[in-house]
């Protein structure tokens, strides 16, 4: 605005300055600091900033050098990959389906919406505790959780070890399945809310135009509405994707690293190696890799969002 004086502009900037400084230190400064630790020799309680180059990264990526660390990290990356793929697919598919169902002018929409979305209001820790109970396998003679349910129903051959089963199909650990279900339970409502907001933003004329042209209800969704929801799918992919790349609380509470790292992810590895093993440099290297993975998704998204805003 033109009437702003120079003096006032300075005041405005000064009011923002504390936040800028705090974030400059606590986000960017600390990331740089962690980066420094990740190329240091720090392996024990006392800090040791002697430079070792990329050794800590090599120990994570190269099995010949890193041994169990590399094995664990590889499994963690694969687990993150499969977790992300299935988690995103389930959230988007069921979230969109629920949003479309709720968009059919149903009675009691508010109640359904409240039920689907309430998991978003509770902690991943609570979710982890409950789903740990549900999928705890128990023993052959004393089955627990879902296995107990299968026993009661006479479906004995459906019983398996759930998150305690170390089996993997190729690089996919089946112990991840219960974890994916728990995570999806928590985040489907969020995806639904995003899609529902998108559907409500589509003007009725557009749908009616489709109906007048003789399109079936299905046709209207297929050819008119779904294409308009693409930006929402994009946002949902980014938001859910970056959450799943750094997932920690839920898995740490529900299963931990699992048998033979079956449910391990880099977040858990970093936490345990740093704060329980005092391998600070290794923990720093893991967290830098997590940061790079998230940045890969988020930075283009931020830039894209801002470009769009400028055009508007």
């Amino acid at each position: 605005m033109d009437s702003q004086t120079r003096h006032e502009r300075w005041i405005a900037f000064l009011m923002l300055l504390p936040s800028i400084i705090l974030l400059a230190i606590f986000v960017y400064g600390f990331i740089a600091w962690t980066g420094l630790v990740s190329v240091s020799k720090w392996d024990g309680i006392a800090p040791d900033y002697n430079f070792v180059g990329l050794k800590n990264y090599q120990q994570l990526f190269l099995k010949a050098i890193g041994g169990v660390s590399a094995l664990r990290f590889h499994i963690g990356l694969w687990n993150t990959f499969f977790f992300t793929i299935f988690f995103l697919f389930i959230c988007l598919l069921i979230g969109l389906s629920l949003a479309i169902l709720l968009d059919q002018k149903v009675k009691g929409e508010g109640i359904f919406r409240t039920i689907y979305l309430f998991p978003m209001a509770i902690s991943f820790v609570v979710t982890g505790v409950v789903w740990q109970w549900i999928f705890a396998p128990g023993t052959e003679s004393r089955p627990r959780g879902v296995n107990a349910l299968f026993s009661t129903l006479g479906l004995e051959n459906l019983k398996w070890g759930w998150y305690t089963d170390p089996t993997s199909i190729g690089p996919f650990h089946i112990a991840l399945i219960p974890v994916i279900i728990a995570a999806a339970w928590q985040m489907i409502g969020y995806t639904m809310a995003m899609y529902l907001a998108g559907l409500r933003a589509i003007p009725d004329d557009l749908r009616e135009a489709g109906n007048v042209d003789g399109a079936t209800n299905f046709g209207v969704y297929r050819h008119i509405i779904l294409p308009l929801l693409k930006p929402i799918t994009f946002s949902a992919l980014i938001v859910l994707g970056h959450i799943s790349l750094k997932i920690f609380d839920l898995i740490y509470t529900m299963t931990g690293k699992g048998p033979a790292f079956a449910t391990d992810v880099p977040g858990i590895f970093m936490f345990e190696t740093t704060f329980q093993g005092n391998h600070y440099a290794q923990g720093a290297a893991i967290s830098m890799i997590m940061l790079i993975m998230v940045a890969f998704v988020i930075i283009p998204y931020l830039i894209f969002s801002f470009r769009q805003e400028v055009e508007l």
């Binding site: 900037f13 923002l16 169902l101 609570v126 600070y280 930075i299």
Partner: protein, 284 residues
């Protein structure tokens, strides 16, 4: 419109009800297990069954602990969660409001870039700042304290609270501000007389969002607060469930106690909760 049976409508309601029931399974588990006695939860054949009656023994155990088994109660941790969440929420809302005001109505050259750099802070995996953070907190005398954790939540809350307020204030017409300038209002006058009074819905959204997130947060809390008596309820609950105890009724009661404050906020203020949720995903 006819009222006769319509298969398509029936399918819609059938699916909605089916999904609702699936979503409520964990709620059933929480409630039915927590109302059972310790003897009842040990009977695995009836683990999915209803409790014999409404027994509150487990809530008492979760609240004050079972000293003879060395299990701590969650009541002090619940109090810690409030002591942590309330000041952190209020401080970060105030800070976000001021930042949003500057970044929407007092833009300067480079302010959008600064805003974008600020926003990045809400997406980072916090693992990548944890070690420097604990070192820094200790060096300023806040290591292992609730105030240290409050400071952390205020700082890492800046991006989201700024984002919500910035988008909210962007809707305030510039004409209103110009009119007030003609009346002689300056930077603070406009904030106090125009922006702040209009901000109530914005504050509700931000406060609900921050309250929920800080209440539910785990990683910062478990890293910064080592002493069990200082930990918030999420950390205490995880320690309880991770300790291989058999008292599932107590754990479930504890989970309910941990979930209730944010659930109440959600049920009463759901509309604002959803707005916060969507604000976190739609940038710019």
């Amino acid at each position: 419109m006819t009222t006769r049976f319509n298969p398509a409508r029936f399918a819609v309601y059938f699916l909605l009800v089916l999904f609702a029931l699936i979503f409520l399974i964990p709620v059933y588990v929480l409630l039915s297990s927590s109302f059972k006695t310790f003897a009842e939860v040990q009977d695995l054949s009836n683990m999915w069954g209803l409790p014999q009656g409404i027994n509150l023994e487990s809530f008492k155990a979760a609240w004050s602990g079972i000293p003879e088994k060395g299990l701590r109660g969650l009541a002090p941790n619940l109090a810690n969660s409030f002591k942590l969440t309330i000041p952190a929420t209020i401080l970060s809302a105030l800070l976000g409001s001021m930042n949003g005001y500057v970044l929407s109505k007092w833009k300067f050259r480079g302010s959008d870039v600064i805003f974008m750099l600020m926003l990045f802070g809400m997406f980072i995996p916090y693992q990548s700042v944890l070690v420097p953070l604990t070192i820094t907190l200790s060096s300023i005398g806040l290591g292992g304290t609730l105030w240290g954790l409050i400071l952390v939540h205020v700082i890492y809350g800046i991006p989201i609270t700024t984002l919500i307020f910035r988008n909210y204030y962007a809707e305030v017409p510039n004409e209103m501000i110009e009119a007030s300038r003609i009346d002689g209002a300056g930077f603070f006058g406009i904030y106090r007389h125009i922006m702040f009074p209009l901000s109530l819905p914005g504050f509700v959204v931000v406060i609900i969002w921050q309250f929920t997130n800080i209440w539910n947060e785990f990683l910062f809390a478990v890293t910064i607060l080592q002493k069990p008596e200082l930990q918030p309820i999420t950390v205490a609950l995880r320690n309880l469930s991770g300790s291989q105890i058999q008292e599932w009724n107590m754990i479930m009661a504890g989970a309910i106690i941990a979930a209730i404050p944010t659930l109440i906020v959600y049920i009463i203020m759901g509309r604002y909760f959803i707005r916060g949720l969507l604000a976190g995903s739609v940038k710019g």
